[in-house]
């Protein structure tokens, strides 16, 4: 999908994506000529359809994880289906409260979520993942439900 500023006859450019947490999505597009901003709002069904395709409006902000769609969307997954032992975590550590919050994530997807937060911290030179870092990553990366 693309957005056209009809007055300027210019293709609008993606500005920002927000996942408010209710299954919907908001994406803002700006006209590079007049600066007008429009928001595209998708309902839960439309949002889910896009997610099911494994694509992200606004482009990917983090590399795809293996079985990302399956792990993120399958309900009733086996708690111990995955062995994360072979994944490199580098020198990033986790604070006690961040670890506690992580335990609330279902085991089926926990390893992937941990990896995403760890990579987020590593890329920004953050030595320790805290709940504040998790909140920042969720907002920045659009990790709804993680």
């Amino acid at each position: 999908m693309k957005f056209l500023c009809v007055d300027c006859d210019r293709q609008m450019t993606f500005e920002e994506r927000r996942l408010p947490g209710d299954g919907t999505l908001a994406a803002a597009f700006r006209c590079p000529q007049c600066g007008r901003v429009v928001a595209m709002l998708t309902n839960p069904m439309e949002t889910q359809l896009v997610a099911s395709l494994g694509v992200q409006i606004g482009g990917r902000t983090i590399p795809a994880q293996p079985l990302e769609m399956v792990r993120g969307m399958v309900a009733g997954g086996k708690e111990d289906a995955f062995d994360e032992g072979k994944r490199e975590t580098g020198n990033v550590t986790w604070s006690a409260d961040a670890q506690q919050r992580l335990t609330r994530v279902p085991g089926f997807v926990r390893g992937m979520v941990k990896k995403i937060y760890t990579d987020y911290a590593k890329e920004r030179g953050i030595a320790e993942v805290t709940t504040a870092v998790m909140d920042a990553a969720r907002a920045e990366l659009g990790l709804e439900g993680m």
């Binding site: 999908m1 693309k2 056209l4 009809v6 006859d9 210019r10 293709q11 450019t13 993606f14 299954g23 839960p44 069904m45 889910q48 359809l49 997610a51 099911s52 395709l53 494994g54 694509v55 992200q56 409006i57 606004g58 482009g59 990917r60 293996p66 079985l67 990302e68 769609m69 399956v70 993120g72 969307m73 399958v74 309900a75 009733g76 997954g77 086996k78 708690e79 111990d80 289906a81 995955f82 062995d83 994360e84 032992g85 072979k86 994944r87 490199e88 089926f108 390893g111 992937m112 439900g145």
Partner: protein, 258 residues
């Protein structure tokens, strides 16, 4: 008012949804680069023993030293992992891939059965309302991830065990750089023959290469000549006739013909 059309807008698009889809396709092709042959096991008819045949054909090839994988594409009724003794293994996560579980005779297996808690049906998190709109896309994406995100490694043969019907075959054919070879399983009855005929025809229309017909459950209560009829109609060999209680050499002979 003049409004330019979609294809007339050629400026860079940060979302690049089409480019993201193309990247997914490239990942599939890269992952399958080490797979010598991909064989889709199909029928069109449920309950004819596709998974049973797949598992034993895979084991027969593995026993003679071939490197073999089985991708269980029956997401809603997965049985290949149990048949291959790979149901309870954990899938090891690497940086960019999942390692398949090694089952009987060294066959590498990935199945939804390894992922779902016991007795749970395949369900996706998401809005229930109008789930028919997105569920098909989610299942197709799961199939894509089973191909593209699994470290299949160098394989002589990767079997894809398809569910009944045509939809999953079409999703698979869409994903692959070239249409797959297909192995068609039927039971002797004319009803099975009718369903298999439609599936086989659909596969051929998508450019699939037919390897032949396997007639399962012969010599028992099922009467008919479905395998011979299909073989004559499509000019294909009957690769094996599998009795109700096959001996190991039945599978070994099938393996020799694949």
């Amino acid at each position: 008012m003049h409004i330019r059309t979609y294809h007339e807008l050629t400026e860079p698009d940060r979302s690049g949804l089409a480019a993201q889809i193309m990247a997914q396709r490239r990942r599939v092709a890269q992952r399958l680069a080490g797979v010598e042959r991909l064989i889709a096991v199909m029928s069109g008819k449920g309950g004819v023993g596709k998974s049973y045949v797949t598992a034993h054909a895979a084991r027969a090839l593995a026993r003679v030293g071939r490197r073999v994988g089985v991708l269980d594409a029956d997401l809603n009724g997965p049985t290949a992992a149990r048949l291959l003794g790979a149901r309870d293994g954990r899938l090891a996560v690497r940086e960019d891939a999942i390692e398949p579980v090694v089952g009987a005779d060294g066959v590498r297996v990935v199945s939804m059965d390894q992922l779902l808690a016991d007795g749970r049906p395949l369900a996706f998190r998401g809005p229930e309302a109008e789930s028919f709109v997105w569920r098909g896309a989610a299942e197709a994406a799961a199939l894509r991830e089973f191909v593209a995100d699994v470290a299949w490694g160098a394989l002589d043969v990767l079997f894809v065990d398809l569910p009944p019907g045509l939809a999953r075959f079409q999703e698979l054919a869409e994903l692959l750089p070239v249409p797959p070879a297909v192995l068609t399983v039927t039971i002797p009855t004319p009803e099975s023959g009718d369903a298999v005929r439609r599936a086989l025809r659909a596969a051929l229309e998508r450019g699939a290469t037919p390897l032949g017909i396997i007639e399962n459950m012969t010599g028992g209560g099922f009467a008919g000549t479905a395998a011979d009829d299909l073989a004559a109609e499509f000019g294909l060999p009957v690769l094996a006739r599998i009795p109700w209680h096959p001996a190991r050499d039945t599978w070994d002979r099938l393996g020799e013909r694949l």
